[in-house]
Symmetry: C2
Subunit: 479 residues, 2 copies
């Protein structure tokens, strides 16, 4: 179909159908395209640019704490994957297997990496010698493949892009500190770059990473009240070191096993941003990761001097080190406004003949819709201040929503009733038994999201079995 | 074996065994490690850091000319790969095939991408609508898999890291201009970042990319006289557009096929740097891509004030925006000097008690071995000037070697004799027949590297068949 002029895009409203609203944004903000390969996704330029901004910030944070990037092979021989029993049980059922190389059948099949603990251990097994070389603080940016049954863009996909940090340390205490440091790194990143508050805690044994001694998580609340696990950090003790025979000569000249961690965050964070800040007009991006932070729209651009005035504003904003674009295309203003709202651009600067007469421009905020008439000499100051305000407002709104939708309960039936009314985070005490965790799922439809670091005493007993409570757990409905 | 103190590393000399010298550097400069997967490589932190510097520079160049990054799926269904006949013939024999997803046999096997023209075409087939959306200037950073029979680190590996640019344009002329622009981009990058002169030209039909209408190449000469293809840029016409049904509504409202290009450069460039600048003491890195541009060595560091003096120099060099490191480990000076020579660090700054008395430091160049006594107040000036000199000297030396080892011939037996004496680049005229190209391989052991853009008239006839010559070709022995 010939389609020269673009149409203003409509999306399903959030309240009508949250899942369809989400998919509409993914496609209409041009973040992703479905690939010909079922369950796989294509990151289009706009979606990739958001990911690129995220990776640049995270990579800088990792490097500041001494981490180094490496690249490991994409394929893992089955025998190598099998050396650690729990890991292979967790990942083999969803691995994609390469069985042919060219026209030859391989002697041993190989998995496309679902995660790379095995490769890092194998590498360390023949490169680590002395305690002097520890810690080894490695990170890898790559994609991984997991053969999921049902998929959704960013949230669950057969391929996704991520970073996987892998470190080994001389002592257990150092490895535990690394695990905690990296979880905090993710939480800080979510707060400062994504304007997204998270709940920090430890996963129950049932929910932890296959093969880990402990898994720590950050959990965020989406606008529909559901929980999104947004980053995890694992402590392995010396379990993998022993399984893969990674050893070093210690300070006392004896052969020892190093202690290990891994931690990962992925393109899932783009899904988190959509469902934390988006609205019925489309995406709403926090300024730190927005590919375009400010869009300049020349109004009545055919009039003399308007385009030049717009370009001049663009140059001044660019000089602040911001990502700015002027849309001088022949689309209508209405189309342009809708387009950059759909794409979640934090600020829109308009300038037309009337503004020029008054030596001003108009700045519109994506988050609140507020408009400001700004004298041109105050442009830089106002743009910078507004970007900070947008970030802070997004964060505060999300924080308020998280707090207003987190409730404490002492009875299972109250959890059930609350969830039936509106999906939320439910805090209860817990005895620590997996049986009660399973019962919560059956009785109230919730899974444990984490055992928060910040514990509260909500009572003395487990609401399921009535036995003495050990910890407070946050329950929810997970993506 | 307990090994607390590191030993000074010895490598094979270049003149004794060039191939072994190359492998020694790859391993002893800690660029790569062999993986448990035959034919695959691991990029260790130092090797990856070089690649990261290369990618940052190239990515900046691509973005300046309007290219946008995207991410395509790692798997390509066989039916999709088969739509363009020449491409599948070229790549299917060396594809790695996924046949199982989890425990299920796939209905159709999928190749791990050997190159992604097919995926880009498939994506464009359902996203491109109008001439207004053209050109689409895309790039992808990823790894690709090709099941090579024999492998060498960086040069030929079953997996390698690269970027693949893919663009579509409204007209053939625009696509051709893009092909040329990107080839020039690679050549400029090699000159300005890698200090490596290259020969620009067009590949013969025999040597061109499977499915391309024309392939352009940059060819560099390694220290053993062999040729390394260091980047290629392809023009496809509308061949793939037609095969994959990529269409758009043109300015005249008719349905048209866009014209397409692709272009790639890879971790092979690290191999190029090793064999262009390296010597018997190890790697020699051009400053622009060196992970450490300046290393500071405190001499007699146990003496009072020495470490602080070294850190002060480090801070001053860091303030210039340079990548600098102080080695304050307890290794000997001899070990440190050898280690950073092996790693190709362009400048070494030494400071000890005697230098402090004289208010000076010593700067040693990796490329020439020259040492300079530098008054401390001239540190910034001298470091910056020397880094430029190192780059220029590396480039000029490589250029001189290229020129001194490129010869013009009018007889096949002269080419053969020259090659038997020392591998070089041989320029001859050529009639354009593939039969003569094949004969050159059989008679003189050389393959055509390219038809240089800068043509010379070396005679009227083809040295093989004696028929009228059409073009001048450069022949060589390729990696």
């Amino acid at each position: 179909m010939a389609k020269n002029k673009k149409q203003v895009k409509a999306i399903t409203s959030m309240s009508e159908d949250f899942a369809q609203w989400y998919t509409d944004i993914c496609l209409k903000a041009e973040l992703v395209d479905y690939a010909s390969v079922k369950g796989f996704m294509i990151l289009r330029p706009y979606g990739y640019a958001i990911w690129e901004n995220m990776t640049n910030i995270l990579d800088g944070m990792f490097k500041k704490t001494g981490h180094q990037n490496v690249a490991m092979p994409v394929l893992i021989p089955e025998s190598l994957l099998k050396k650690e029993g729990e890991l292979v049980e967790g990942f083999a059922p969803e691995a994609a297997w390469v069985t042919m190389g060219g026209s030859d059948k391989l002697e041993e099949r190989m998995a496309i990496r679902p995660t790379s603990e095995t490769m890092f251990c194998d590498h360390w097994a023949h490169t680590l010698h002395s305690w002097r070389e520890l810690p080894m603080l490695y990170n890898q940016w790559c994609s991984v493949v997991r053969w999921e049954k049902s998929t959704r863009p960013f949230l669950r996909s057969r391929e996704f892009w991520w970073q996987e940090g892998h470190t080994i340390h001389e002592t257990a205490a150092e490895a535990e500190a690394e695990t905690e440091q990296q979880l905090n790194c993710y939480a800080d990143f979510c707060r400062d770059a994504l304007a997204m508050p998270v709940l920090k805690g430890r996963k129950t044994d049932k929910e932890k990473f296959a093969g880990a001694e402990a898994t720590y998580t950050i959990e965020a609340m989406m606008k529909d009240g559901k929980a999104l696990q947004s980053g995890t950090s694992h402590y392995f003790g010396d379990k993998f070191s022993r399984a893969y025979d990674v050893t070093f000569t210690g300070r006392d000249n004896t052969l020892q096993y190093p202690y290990q961690t891994s931690w990962g965050a992925s393109t899932r964070l783009i899904g988190a941003v959509i469902m934390t800040h988006g609205d019925d007009n489309g995406l709403v991006l926090p300024p730190a990761v927005a590919p375009i932070q400010v869009v300049v729209i020349p109004v009545a651009q055919h009039k003399e001097g308007v385009l030049d005035a717009a370009y001049a504003l663009e140059q001044r904003i660019k000089a602040l080190g911001l990502r700015v674009k002027t849309d001088d295309s022949d689309q209508s203003n209405g189309w342009k406004y809708a387009e950059y709202e759909m794409k979640g651009v934090p600020l829109r600067v308009e300038i037309g003949p009337k503004d020029m007469e008054k030596n001003q421009c108009v700045i519109a905020r994506r988050d609140t819709g507020e408009k400001y008439f700004v004298p041109l000499e105050q442009l830089e100051e106002k743009v910078q201040a507004l970007l900070v305000e947008v970030h802070d407002n997004l964060y505060e709104s999300a924080k308020q929503r998280l707090e207003e939708n987190t409730f404490a309960f002492t009875k299972v039936e109250d959890v059930k009733a609350a969830m039936e009314k509106h999906t939320c985070f439910a805090k209860t005490m817990w005895c620590g038994d997996e049986a009660c965790e399973i019962a919560m799922k059956e009785l109230a439809g919730v899974s444990s999201r984490c055992i928060p670091f910040e514990q509260e005493n909500l009572g003395e007993v487990c609401p399921v079995c009535g036995k003495p409570a050990k910890k407070m757990v946050v329950w929810g409905v997970a993506y």
